[in-house]
Assembly symmetry: C2
Homo-oligomer: 250 residues x 2
């Protein structure tokens, strides 16, 4: 790690000083069209795969329950939300499940999304829709991903017409363990599909790939992610900071 | 909880709107004399009792290890530190142990403080030095607390002359479970002693009591602490935000 960091600092000696965390977050912010104003008693739901799940307790978990929120970006975003908006009586849930692809969200969507009646629904899904093609023989394509994701959101909007959507961009950090050259450019198509879907549904879109790419100019990729897919503690906070930019200060 | 909140909002209808989280943090900030500038490769150590410990893994835990940092304010402060200062190569440890009073810190101080050679040492201790008098027949007094704490910091400064100290004020939220009228005014003497000690050693002092008291004007006490002593998720983030105010942006 130290040798990595020294080499990294040598490589990055030119240019890196122009970058900073506020700069990265500015990039995240310009990607957001109209921020979400949280209403009183708002229910916020985090949905997705292992990056969202992150070891959370799954049985008998109510809102704002720390062990039920897991140890990833939903925890850090929730801590900030509860601290920043104490008067709003927010109710925040995490229902991410490790390994999920879009069709697996659909299989549990009535119970683990619609029934919770979220006012704000944040989804991060897509890395397994690609990754499992490599490692588990999954046969879905980017077209499957876009079609299933679109159908899922259409189904959701029909049942929760006022829900405010936040779509996180699937991301992968090249050169760290699980993520090698053969991911690209195919994986980029999943990112582009997520962005198109966000646009089609008027959702907030969080450009995690750009955020991580920029962060990797400040510290080595392994500082932000252990395996190229799952964020480190620093990476989870980076995601939470970006997530918070989708919420209005009001 | 909802009834509590409704009653609370009725009671607080006048005055509460003037308060806000930035206002609370401003109060924390004015209590800080000269912020700590983190040097490159700085080692930061969180020490204290259960509020610091918060379910952390204790065996074979290195720096920046999420399960080793527990689930309390050290986790949320560390996430922010690692995210905000990626170029500093920070190494952050939590060595809080549930139930500890000052003399119990001293018993393990060589291994769990001095040997780690912290550049920044953050200590929060004192609630058990009072509480255990009520519930476990502990015989120490506020004089014991101040004498032991002073000796501990003198011992520390002799071995780590350049260490930068952060002293957290012990706090208790009256009217929530464990904390009733009989705590006061005796407990306040422990708060005052911690402040005197911070001043004597030129330490940063975090006025947690004032911060929680102000926060309790924005949401009911039970929103910030489950039992009057241990912070909720919102309370842990509140503490982390205040802790971060002791660190310079440089």
């Amino acid at each position: 790690m130290n040798t990595n960091r020294r080499n990294f600092m040598k490589t990055m000696a030119v240019g890196a000083t122009a970058l900073s965390l506020p700069g990265i977050m500015k990039a995240a912010e310009t990607a957001v069209v109209k921020k979400i104003a949280l209403k009183q008693d708002a229910v916020i739901l985090f949905q997705g795969d292992s990056i969202t799940d992150w070891g959370r307790k799954r049985e008998n978990v109510g809102y704002n329950d720390q062990v039920g929120l897991g140890g990833g970006y939903p925890l850090f975003a929730t801590a900030q939300l509860l601290c920043k908006y104490p008067q709003k009586n927010l109710r925040i849930y995490n229902r991410g499940i490790s390994g999920n692809k879009v069709y697996e969200l659909r299989d549990r969507w009535d119970e683990e999304c619609i029934d919770l009646k979220p006012d704000v629904l944040s989804i991060l899904v897509g890395v397994n829709d690609y990754w499992h093609k490599l490692s588990f023989g999954y046969k879905g394509t980017v077209e499957t991903y876009e079609k299933d994701y679109t159908a899922l959101l259409k189904y959701t909007k029909e049942r929760l017409p006022d829900v405010q959507l936040i779509i996180g961009e699937p991301f992968a950090i090249k050169g760290v363990k699980a993520v090698d050259d053969k991911w690209f450019p195919e994986f980029d198509k999943f990112r582009a599909a997520a962005k198109r879907i966000a646009s089609a549904f008027g959702a907030m879109f969080i450009p995690y790939q750009e955020i991580f790419d920029d962060a990797c100019k400040l510290a080595p990729p392994a500082y932000w992610t252990g395996d190229g897919v799952h964020p480190s503690l620093a990476g989870a906070e980076l995601m939470a900071e970006a997530w918070m930019k989708t919420i209005s200060n009001k």
